[in-house]
Amino acid sequence: MVLHKFGEKLYSGLVATMTGHLKEIAKSVEAAQGAEFYRVESQKFIECCDCGDYLKKAERRLNEEIDRVSHYLDPRTEKKITNVVEKEMIENHMLRLIHMENSGLVHMFSDDKYDDLGRMYNLFRRVPDGLSKIREVMTEHIKETGKQLVNDPERLKDPVEFVQRLLDEKDKYDKIINFAFNNDKSFQNALNSSFEYFINLNPRSPEFISLFVDDKLRKGLKGVSEDDVEVTLDKVMMLFRYLQEKDVFEKYYKQHLAKRLLSGKTVSDDAERSLIVKLKTECGYQFTSKLEGMFTDMKTSQDTMQGFYASHPELVDGPTLTVQVLTTGSWPTQSSVTCNLPAEMSALCEKFRSYYLGTHTGRRLSWQTNMGTADLKATFGKGQKHELNVSTYQMCVLMLFNNADRLSYKEIEQATEIPASDLKRCLQSLALVKGRNVLRKEPMSKDVGEDDAFFVNDKFSSKLYKVKIGTVVAQKESEPEKQETRQRVEEDRKPQIEAAIVRIMKSRKQLDHNNLIAEVTKQLQSRFLANPTEVKKRIESLIERDFLERDENDRKLYRDPDVVSLKTRFGSNLESIDDGEYEFVEFICENMVSLGASNLQSIVGDSNILPFYLEQGIANTIGCLQREGCLLRGEHNLLGEAFLVMASVAGIQQQQEVLAWLLEPLSQEWTHSEWQDKYLSEPYGLVYLFSEAQVMWSSFHSVTFFDKALNRSGIKKANWNPENSSTPDSTPINPILIKYFVLSGSCSYFPATSHYTLSLVSICTSNFTWRDPSCNDHE
C-alpha cells in the first residue's frame, strides 16, 4: 500500500536521477571516443585531401555531430562535442591547411574560390585565433602581390593600366570579403592597410592616379551613364585615400586639369565638378579652392570673349580669337616665353589686350603661347582641303609657309622665336608623324637637325577632313620633369610645415621637441607625411627669425616668444607706438613681410587660420592703433597690402569677409547719425570732413583698399552687393553717401583737400552704380 501511494513520486525521482547519470556517462564516452576518433580521421584526411576537400569533410563531420546532438542528446552537450571536432579537425591542422601546397589559402585567393574561402572562414571562426591567422596570411599576400605590382617596370609603362590593375585587385578582395568573409570589418581594415602600404612604395603612384583620372575624364567616361561615372570616381577617391603624399597628387591633378580645360577635352563638366566636390569633402576647402578658381576663369573668359566681340563687330568676319584669361596662382606656374605670332593674329591679340585692360585696370597680361591651340583651314598642292587642329607654336610655323615654299630650320627659328627644344618637337610633330605629315623635311632623317629644310607636303592626304596634330595631352613625366615637380612639391611643403609649427606654438605657448614634431606630423598628415628632419630644419629657421625660441634652461623645450624687442628690428620707425602695441604690430609685420606672399598663400588657404589672423591680428592691430591715433601710414599700407594678398588667394567667402571688413569703418562712420549731421547735412559739412586729416585718411585708405581688393578678387564691381557679404553684422554701405562725396566737386573750393576728393571720386564712380549726379534728391 505504501508503494502504491507514494510509489510514483519515488519512482519518477529515481528515473530522473538515472537518466541524468546515463546522460553524463553517454557524454563522456562520446567525448572520449570522439576525440580519438576525430584525431585519427583528421590525420587520415589531411594526408590525402587537398584543402578544399578537407574543409568539406570537416564541415560535414561537424554538421553530423550537431545533428546527432539535436536528435539524441541533451542540447547542452553540443558545445562539448563540437569543441572536440573543432579542436581535432580544425585547430590542430590550421596552419597546415592554410599553407597547403597548391590548394591552400593563397591559392583560394588567386582563384577566387568563394565557397572554399567561405567554408574556411566559417570553420576557423570557431576556434581561437582562427580568423586572425587567415587575416595575417591575407595581409601578407596582398602586400606581396601589391609590392610586385608597383615595382614591375612593365606595368609602370602604362600608368592607366597600372591604376586599373590596382582597382581590379581591390575589387577582387572586396568581393572575397563580401561573399566569403561575411563583410567582416577586421578583414576590410586589413585590406585597407595593406593597400596603403604598397601603394605608397612607389613614389609615382600619385602621378599615375592623376593620369588615370585624366584618361577617364578625357575619353574613358564618354557615353557612360551618370551613375557609372560616380562609381568610377568613387573608386578613384578610394585609391586617393590610400595616398600618403596627397599634395603630390594635387600638383599633378592641377597640371592635368589645366591641360584638359584649355584644350577643351573634358568629357563632362559635371564629372569634373563631381570629382572636385569629392576631393573637397575628403580634404577640405583648401585643397580645391584653386581648382575651382580654374573653372571660374574658364567661365569668366567666355563672358569676356562675348563682350569683346560685342564691342568689336567689325572683327566678326576675320579669324576667330578665343582667349582664356588665367589668374596666376590658380593655374600651374608657367614660364612665360612668348613667340612671334603671325601678323594677322598679333594684331587681333593686341586689340583684345587693349579691350581687356580697358575694363580691368591695374592688371598685367602675358600671353602663354605654349599652351594654345589653333584651327587652320589648309589647301594643299593637289587641291586637298583640310582643317588642321594644331598648337599655337605649330600655327606660327605653318603660317610662315603662306609666304615661302622652302624654309630652313634657322629661318623658322628666327621668324618665330620659339625656344629651340619646343621648336624641334613642334617640327617633329608636323613633319615626321605618319598620317599627320603636313610638312616635308629634307633630309628625310628621323630627327630634326639645325641644318634641315622644310617644305609643305603637297602630297599630304588623310581620310578625315579634320586632322588633329596638336600635342597637348597629359603624359607621364620625363625624368627631369619629374625631378622638377618633386622639387617644387618639397619647396611648397616648407611654408606649410612652418605654418603648422607657428599655429601649434601659438596655441600651446610651450611644447617639447618630440611632442611638437608629433603634433606637426598629425596636422599635416592629410596632405603629406612630414619628414622629421625637414620639420627640424623649419624649427631652426623659425628660431632664427624669432618666431620661436628655445627655452634657456631646457634645450628640448620651445616657446612662443611673447614680446620681442621691436626696436632692434625696426629701429626708429615705430617710436610713436607704445610698448603695449609692439607685440601686435611686430607679429603682424613679421608674419606678413618676412614669410612672403607665397608663404602666405599656404597659411591663409587653411580656413582655420584666416579667421585667427583676422580676429586677433590685423583687425585688432589696425583698430587699436587707429583709436590711439598713432597708426603710421606706412604700417597701414603694409598691413592692408598683406591683407589683400591674403584675400586674393583665399576663396570667395574669405574675400567677401575681407571686403566687408575693409568697409566696416566706413559703414560705421557714414551711417552714424552724428557723423551724418556733422558732415553730410550740407555741402559745407564736407569741408569739415576733409579738414580732419585723421578721418579723411582713414576713409581714404579704406576706400583705396576696398578698390584694390575688388580688383584682385575679380568680382565685377557693378555686381558687388555688400548685402551678400557673409559676415552677419556688416552694415551695407549706403551708396547714397558716396554720392555726397561725388557731389562735393564743390570741394574744389578747398585745394588742399581736392587731391583726396578726386581720388575718392574716381574710386567711387568706378565701384558703385549710382544715379545721375545732376538730380538733386535727398534720401
Binding site: D512, H513, N514, I517, P532, T533, K536, K537, E540, I543, E544, R550, R555, K556, R569, G571
Partner: protein
C-alpha cells in the same frame, strides 16, 4: 684676432697706446683673455669700445693702475670657471662677431676661429673634429652642391655646439638620438663622425 686690432684702432686711446697695452700685459691680442675683457666691458659692437665700456671693464676688474690691469687680464680665464658665466660668455662671443645691424649669422671661418679661441682649452679633441667637419663641408660646397651647405651659422647652432660637447661623449655616439632636439648641423656632424670612425 683681427677684430681686436680693429677695435684697438678705433679706441679712444691712441693705437700706440693699445699696442703698448697688449705688450704691457703680455697678452697676445688673439688671446681669449682679450675677448673675455671685451665681455666684461659688455662691449656692444665689434671694433668699437666706447669710453663707458672701457670704464666698466676697468671697474669690473678692479684695476685702476697698469700693474693691476696686467694682473687682472692675466687672470681673466679663471673667470669662466663657473658654468653659468661661461655660457653667458660663450653666447657673447658669438654676438660680438655680428657686425651688421640685422645680421643673424656668422661665416664659417670666423666660427672656426672662435671655436678654437673659446672652447679649445676645455674640449681640444672635439673642437678639432668639429672644425674639420665645418671646413670640409665648406670645401665640398665649392665643388658640388652639398645639401647641408653651411656657409654661416646662427646663434642657436652656435649654442648647440657647447651643449653638445658638454653632454655627449664622443666615444659613445651610438646612443646619440637624432630625433631629439639637437640642431640639424649636430645631427650631420655625428653622422660624419660615425662615418669617419668606420674608415
Amino acid at each position: 684676432m683681427q677684430l681686436l686690432i680693429q677695435c684697438c684702432v678705433l679706441w679712444f686711446v691712441s693705437p700706440e697706446g693699445i699696442e703698448a697695452l697688449c705688450n704691457d700685459v703680455n697678452v697676445n691680442h688673439t688671446d681669449v683673455r682679450m675677448l673675455i675683457f671685451a665681455w666684461k666691458m659688455k662691449a656692444e659692437k665689434q671694433g668699437y669700445f666706447s669710453k663707458d665700456e672701457w670704464r666698466r671693464g676697468l671697474k669690473c676688474l678692479g684695476a685702476d693702475t697698469r700693474p693691476k690691469l696686467k694682473k687682472a687680464i692675466e687672470g681673466l680665464d679663471k673667470e669662466l670657471k663657473v658654468p653659468e658665466c661661461f655660457e653667458d660668455f660663450y653666447s657673447y662671443a658669438f654676438q660680438y662677431c655680428l657686425t651688421e645691424e640685422k645680421q643673424r649669422s656668422v661665416d664659417i671661418e670666423t666660427i672656426c676661429e672662435l671655436l678654437n679661441i673659446v672652447l679649445k682649452s676645455e674640449f681640444p679633441n672635439q673642437v678639432n673634429l668639429l672644425v674639420e667637419y665645418l671646413k670640409v663641408g665648406k670645401q665640398l660646397f665649392k665643388l658640388i652642391y652639398v645639401q647641408n651647405d653651411y656657409r654661416a651659422l646662427n646663434m642657436d647652432q652656435w649654442r648647440s655646439f657647447y651643449r653638445f660637447f658638454k653632454e655627449v661623449d664622443f666615444h659613445d655616439l651610438e646612443n646619440y638620438d637624432s630625433s631629439q632636439a639637437w640642431t640639424v648641423i649636430i645631427d650631420n656632424f655625428v653622422e660624419w663622425l660615425k662615418e669617419k670612425e668606420k674608415n
